[in-house]
C-alpha cells in the first residue's frame, strides 16, 4: 500500500470513529473524574478564562440540538483539526519544508 493511501485510510478510520462511534461512547465519569468525585475535590476544578469561550465546549458542537449529532460533529471537526495542526506543525518545524506537503 502506498504511504499516501495508508495516510488517507488511517485518517478515514480516525474520522469515522470520532464521528460515528463517539456518540455511543460511555458518558460515565472517567477514572480521574470519578476519583475526584469520590474524594470531594471535583468542585475545585474550574475553567480558565480562555476556555469560557471555547468553540466546542464539552465535545458538543454548538447550535446542534441532538446530543449524538453534536458529539459526532465535534469528533469530525476535532479529528480533522488535530490532523491539520499536527501535520502543519511537522511541516513548519522540519528542516526542509518544501515538498513535505506532497509526501
Amino acid at each position: 500500500m502506498k504511504i499516501r493511501w495508508f495516510t488517507v485510510l488511517a485518517l478515514a478510520v480516525a474520522v469515522g470513529l470520532a464521528t460515528a462511534a463517539s456518540p455511543f461512547a460511555s458518558s460515565s465519569p472517567d477514572g480521574l473524574e470519578r476519583v475526584a468525585g469520590d474524594n470531594a475535590f471535583l468542585e475545585q476544578g474550574r475553567l480558565a478564562k480562555v476556555q469560557e469561550d471555547a468553540p466546542i465546549p464539552d465535545y458538543a458542537f454548538p447550535g446542534v440540538d441532538d446530543p449524538r449529532l453534536a458529539t459526532g460533529l465535534a469528533g469530525f471537526a476535532g479529528t480533522l483539526g488535530v490532523f491539520a495542526f499536527g501535520w502543519g506543525l511537522a511541516v513548519v518545524v522540519r528542516r526542509r519544508p518544501q515538498g513535505a506537503a506532497t509526501a
Binding site: 460515565s28 480521574l32 474550574r46 495542526f85 499536527g86 511537522a90 518545524v93 509526501a103
Partner: protein
C-alpha cells in the same frame, strides 16, 4: 485523566510545565532534524487517531469509564519524543477548543498522558530489542505491556501531583487512581495492540520501534 485548572497548586503546575516544555522542545528538535519526509503526514495522522480514540470512553467498573491515552501507540510508531509532541498537539486542541483539561494544568497533562508513557514505552522497547528476539509477536506483547504500564505510570504521577498540591492525601488518591487505572490500562493495551497489529499488516515500515518490519527506515 485530564486535570482541569484548580486541582493543582501553582508550584506543582509550574514544576510539571518545565519538564513538559523541555520534552516538547526535544520533540520539536527531533521533528526538525530527523523527521523523514514520509513521516510528516504520519505525525498528523497519529495525532488525529489519538484524538479520535480518546473520545471513545469505554465502561470500566461501576459507573466509571476510561479512555485511550495513546502515548504508547505514538511511541511505537514515531519514537518517544515525537510521541510526546503528538500528545501535546492533542492536549492543546482539547484544552483550547474543547475546554477539556486545564490551561495552567497543560504541562501536567502533557507529562502524565504523554511524555511519561512515551518514555516508559521507549525504554521498554530499547530493553526488549536487546534481550528478546525480533519478531512480530514480541513487538505486540511489548506494545501491550508498555501500554498498560504507561497508563498506570501516568495515573501514579497524577496522584502524586494531586497529593503534593494538597488537594487530596496520597494514601487516599493513589490506591483510588491505581484501582481504576489498572483496568483502564487493559483497555489501552487492547487498543494499542490492535492498532499496531493493523499497521504491521498494512505498512510495517511506518512502525519505528524494533527493526521488526523488513526494510524499515530509522
Amino acid at each position: 485523566m485530564h486535570i482541569p485548572d484548580g486541582f493543582l497548586s501553582t508550584e506543582v503546575a509550574l514544576a510539571c510545565a518545565v519538564p513538559a516544555a523541555a520534552a516538547v522542545g526535544i520533540g520539536l528538535r527531533q521533528a526538525n532534524h530527523t523527521l523523514d519526509e514520509r513521516r510528516v503526514p504520519l505525525l498528523g495522522v497519529t495525532a488525529a487517531f489519538v484524538f479520535a480514540a480518546q473520545m471513545l470512553n469505554f465502561p470500566v467498573a461501576g459507573g466509571t469509564s476510561g479512555h485511550f491515552l495513546g502515548a504508547a501507540l505514538a511511541a511505537i510508531l514515531l519514537g518517544p519524543w515525537l510521541a510526546g509532541l503528538v500528545l501535546s498537539v492533542v492536549l492543546v486542541v482539547q484544552a483550547f477548543v474543547f475546554a477539556d483539561g486545564g490551561i495552567t494544568a497543560l504541562g501536567a497533562n502533557v507529562l502524565n498522558m504523554g511524555v511519561i508513557g512515551a518514555l516508559v514505552v521507549g525504554g521498554l522497547m530499547v530493553a526488549a530489542q536487546r534481550v528478546l528476539p525480533n519478531r512480530r509477536g514480541v513487538l505486540l506483547a511489548v506494545a501491550g505491556a508498555g501500554a498498560w504500564l504507561a497508563v498506570v505510570a501516568g495515573a501514579t504521577v497524577t496522584a502524586i501531583e494531586l497529593a503534593i498540591s494538597g488537594t487530596v492525601p496520597l494514601g487516599t488518591v493513589l490506591p483510588a487512581m491505581l484501582g481504576v487505572h489498572v483496568l483502564i490500562g487493559a483497555g489501552e493495551a487492547a487498543i494499542t495492540v490492535a492498532a499496531v497489529s493493523a499497521v504491521l499488516s498494512t505498512r510495517p515500515d511506518v512502525v519505528r520501534a524494533f527493526p521488526v518490519p523488513q526494510g524499515a527506515m530509522a
